[in-house]
């Protein structure tokens, strides 16, 4: 019997307190695009880390081209023809694009010295293949936008001429245009007989590009299906074990204006004005890099304000530090939770009380019993899955980590809550839970400023939608008149409502 190109056999892997993978088996055939779905914490990333040599399985075997292989490092994986593009970037910002793409496999002349001319030539041809005409091989990486950096990451994987290419959420931070280019490249690779393992939360992409789809849940294999013989509902059912009821996320918007910003400008945006009503969800839609995060950070006092004013409940306020903002009742759930939101090596309870230490203290002394009680209440309320409140946050899955950051701000009870990509890299089940938490908050009179690049999310839960492009607001749409196409027009600057 001939086995498929890659045969994963009964792989298991445990971390302290967590069974990340339990007896998972999987076949990847030559020239197929194989999607892997599952909630955060389902074991997708662990499985990919095992295939790429970053982690070793406790049990089981990896059989590549009919031969059992042991992969002890990423370099070994590369020599076996397996390349991976991680969810988080693995590039060095201070080096050039070319040096980033060819890290260990730089072309050398016969004396072992790097052949820069050839290096730049080869980089250029890779960039051409990816239609990245505005990137030059000698450009320093930090001058590129997040989306372009992700494309460089993909170019890096392609430079290794993989036979199996693993893409872990490759479209999370790139725009539509780049997604189309990526999909075309995947088609080319497929025609060349390369197998692609594609991890994504986005159902639409899976149905567009994949041949097979495998679902993992809680580290266990749930099944593999032909994409033509399944539908979104079935996959989601397998992922979460229940059918997702489409909820109506209408909030309790009132007429009272809680916050108003007038003509805010900073180095990254200009002339931003809007009013936020009590109990409404106001979305700031737009592409990555449009200046939305910077608006939130400036209101929070984390970035300097050049001009303009912020009115809170009718009176003008001056905010020059996040401390002032939190005292005024403004909260901010930042994007990139790992670098901006979490204390990874600290416990769940330490993270929860971080913005509100005095809440857990008496006369300046922290009361451990009270800390525990507060944390346990929030863990239950938000259904954070953790063995205890003393568990390090680093050991939780992405969705649960995000809920910990949410819990931190819920404890603080803000009047204005700015949430920046609240469901980025979070699975379908946790997404729905986060939406209902936000909705619940609006019922309590909290006003929410939602920054999101996911249009279905924006359309589903916001009352009004502001669209930003190139540092300015280009449109204000009501929930009823907005559509994905409409928003995309304003977000890409092809249409502007105001002048």
């Amino acid at each position: 019997m001939t086995l498929p190109r890659l045969h994963i056999k009964n792989i298991s892997k445990s971390f302290p307190g967590v069974k990340a993978l339990v007896q998972v088996s999987l076949d990847i055939k030559k020239g197929e695009v194989h999607a892997i779905c599952g909630e955060n914490g389902a074991g997708k990333s662990t499985l990919m880390n095992i295939l790429s040599g970053n982690l070793q399985a406790d049990e089981g075997a990896i059989i590549l081209n009919n031969e059992e292989v042991k992969i002890n490092s990423q370099l070994e994986a590369q020599s076996l023809g397996i390349s991976i593009v991680y969810q988080e970037r693995s590039l060095v910002e201070s080096l050039s694009v070319a040096e980033n793409i060819f890290t260990t496999n730089k072309p050398r002349n016969r004396w072992g010295i790097i052949d820069y001319r050839k290096l730049y030539q080869e980089t250029q041809s890779l960039l051409d293949r990816l239609q990245l005409s505005d990137i030059r091989p000698k450009m320093q990486l930090e001058h590129l936008s997040a989306a372009k950096q992700q494309m460089v990451e993909i170019a890096k994987a392609l430079s290794q001429n993989p036979r199996i290419l693993i893409l872990d959420e490759p479209t999370a931070s790139i725009t539509e245009t780049e997604t189309h280019i990526l999909f075309r490249i995947i088609q080319d690779l497929k025609a060349d007989g390369v197998s692609v393992i594609y991890i994504s939360h986005r159902m639409r992409e899976i149905f567009e590009i994949a041949d097979q789809v495998t679902v993992l849940k809680d580290g266990k294999y749930q099944g593999t299906m032909d994409v033509n013989a399944t539908d979104v509902d079935e996959i989601i059912r397998l992922m979460v074990g229940r059918k997702l009821v489409k909820q109506d996320y209408l909030s309790d918007e009132q007429d009272e204006i809680v916050m108003e910003v007038k003509e805010l400008s900073s180095y990254r945006f200009r002339g931003v004005s809007f009013k936020l009503k009590k109990g409404e969800i106001l979305a700031l839609a737009g592409l990555v890099g449009a200046g939305r995060t910077e608006v939130a950070r400036t209101i929070m006092g984390a970035d300097p304000l050049l001009s303009g004013e912020i009115m809170l409940e009718g009176s003008k306020v001056k905010i020059n530090h996040p401390r002032t903002a939190t005292n005024l009742g403004i909260g901010y759930l930042p994007e990139e939770r790992k670098s901006n939101g979490l204390f990874l090596d600290m416990s769940v309870e330490d993270n929860i009380i971080a913005a509100c230490l005095s809440h857990a203290a008496e006369n300046g002394f922290i009361q451990p019993a009270r800390v525990k009680k507060i944390a346990q209440e929030l863990v239950q309320k938000l259904r954070i899955i953790t063995p205890s409140t003393r568990q390090k946050v680093n050991n939780l899955s992405g969705g649960n980590q995000q809920k910990v950051v949410l819990a931190k701000w819920l404890l603080r009870q803000p009047k204005v809550f700015m949430v920046d990509e609240p469901t980025h890299g979070v699975d379908v089940g946790a997404k729905a839970e986060i939406y209902s938490i936000l909705k619940e908050l609006t019922h309590q009179g909290v006003s929410i400023l939602l920054i999101s690049s996911e249009l279905p999310e924006v359309l589903a839960i916001s009352d009004r939608i502001l669209v930003m492009w190139n540092g300015q607001i280009t449109a204000e749409l009501s929930r009823d008149e907005a559509s994905e196409e409409e928003i995309m027009h304003y977000a890409s600057g092809t249409k502007i409502m105001f002048t």
Partner: protein, 337 residues
């Protein structure tokens, strides 16, 4: 579950160090029953480590927040010298001279804190420079040393209470107070958050800059207090005292459970670290081993202790920390039109 508890305990440096010190104590008592476990020997060991322990308390606080201070050894010399200078040359009233010494120490800490937190100089560079500057100042003031200090001043460090020298009591008092403050108060908990993730701490409303500056001031004040106490104990201020102390103190604090990355450590660990180092040198003397070996042995122990810790964490199967991108480097939007 029970196995998890044990591994957790083995990774707690306060626990392992306490056990190690207890074991050393028992073994040495068996080897030298009439020299080692005597009140005289142990109180001498404690006296010898008291000054460094006081400095170590401040260093632990800084390391918890992910910073450190190389100028502490120089501050020890400078604060002692300046207090002695005013007492000897101007006949300044003892408590006032002590306050002046502490005031200068605090000022040095404030300068370090300002340049690190507000200007953004790396703590290594800032405090390395300050180490040289302050040592120079101490040499200018005290030269070959200032002797014949007032009796009331000398009494501060040379009196015995309940058989123990006053520096030991000062040390125990300072360690006790800071232990309580750092483990329990809202203000000092902030150092753990800053060491854990500075950006997240700031966005959570912690005044990172201010807390850092206060950390440097406290560290310098403790080093100053240690220096004044040292002059009092010796009855003289020496411009060369505290040389190399910064690295010995950092060694002790890391042995006591701190990490250069911040976020970890307890004040009691600082004391345990200095006690361990004090015991090792006491043992070497009792065993009549050449003094040169002390530094070699301590170096080896430091590597061993940290290596065991790192290996234990790896074997525990903690997934590797993923690379996270700094948000301060988010690229500006491209102006296309």
């Amino acid at each position: 579950m029970k196995k998890d508890k044990i591994t957790q305990l083995l990774q707690d440096r306060v626990f392992t160090l306490t056990v190690t010190i207890a074991l050393l104590f028992v073994v040495c008592s068996l080897i030298w029953p009439d020299k080692f476990p005597t009140f005289e020997n142990i109180s001498l060991v404690m006296l010898n480590l008291s000054i460094e322990s006081i400095v170590a308390v401040g260093m632990m606080l800084l390391l918890i927040s992910g910073m450190f201070d190389l100028s502490v050894g120089s501050v020890v010399a400078f604060a002692g010298s300046i207090a002695a200078y005013f007492m000897y040359w101007y006949g300044m009233y003892v408590p006032v001279a002590i306050l002046v010494g502490l005031g200068f120490a605090g000022l040095i800490g404030l300068t370090n804190g300002f340049f690190v937190a507000k200007v953004g100089i790396n703590p290594l560079i800032q405090t390395l420079a300050m180490m040289g500057i302050v040592r120079g100042l101490a040499l200018m003031i005290a030269g070959a040393g200032i002797q014949n200090l007032p009796e009331t001043f000398n009494a501060l460090g040379q009196t015995k209470i309940l058989g123990l020298q006053t520096p030991v009591w000062f040390m125990l008092l300072i360690v006790g107070i800071f232990s309580l403050l750092v483990s329990r108060t809202v203000f000092f908990r902030q150092y753990y958050y800053i060491g854990g993730n500075e950006k997240a701490a700031r966005l959570s409303g912690i005044r990172v800059d201010r807390v850092k500056i206060i950390g440097f001031v406290l560290t310098s004040l403790l080093a100053g207090a240690a220096g004044i106490l040292l002059s009092s104990r010796l009855g003289a201020a020496l411009a060369t005292s505290g040389r190399g102390m910064e690295l010995r103190v950092i060694t002790a604090v890391i042995l006591g459970g701190a990490s250069l990355l911040g976020g970890q450590g307890k004040i009691i660990g600082a004391l345990l670290g200095t006690i361990f180092m004090g015991l090792v040198s006491n043992i070497m003397i009792l065993a009549r081993v050449s003094g040169y070996w002390q530094e070699i042995v301590l170096g080896l122990i430091l590597i061993l202790a940290v290596a065991v810790d790192v290996l234990a964490q790896k074997r525990g199967g903690v997934p590797p920390r993923e690379y996270v991108r700094k948000s301060s480097e988010v690229t500006p939007p491209k102006v296309e039109a």
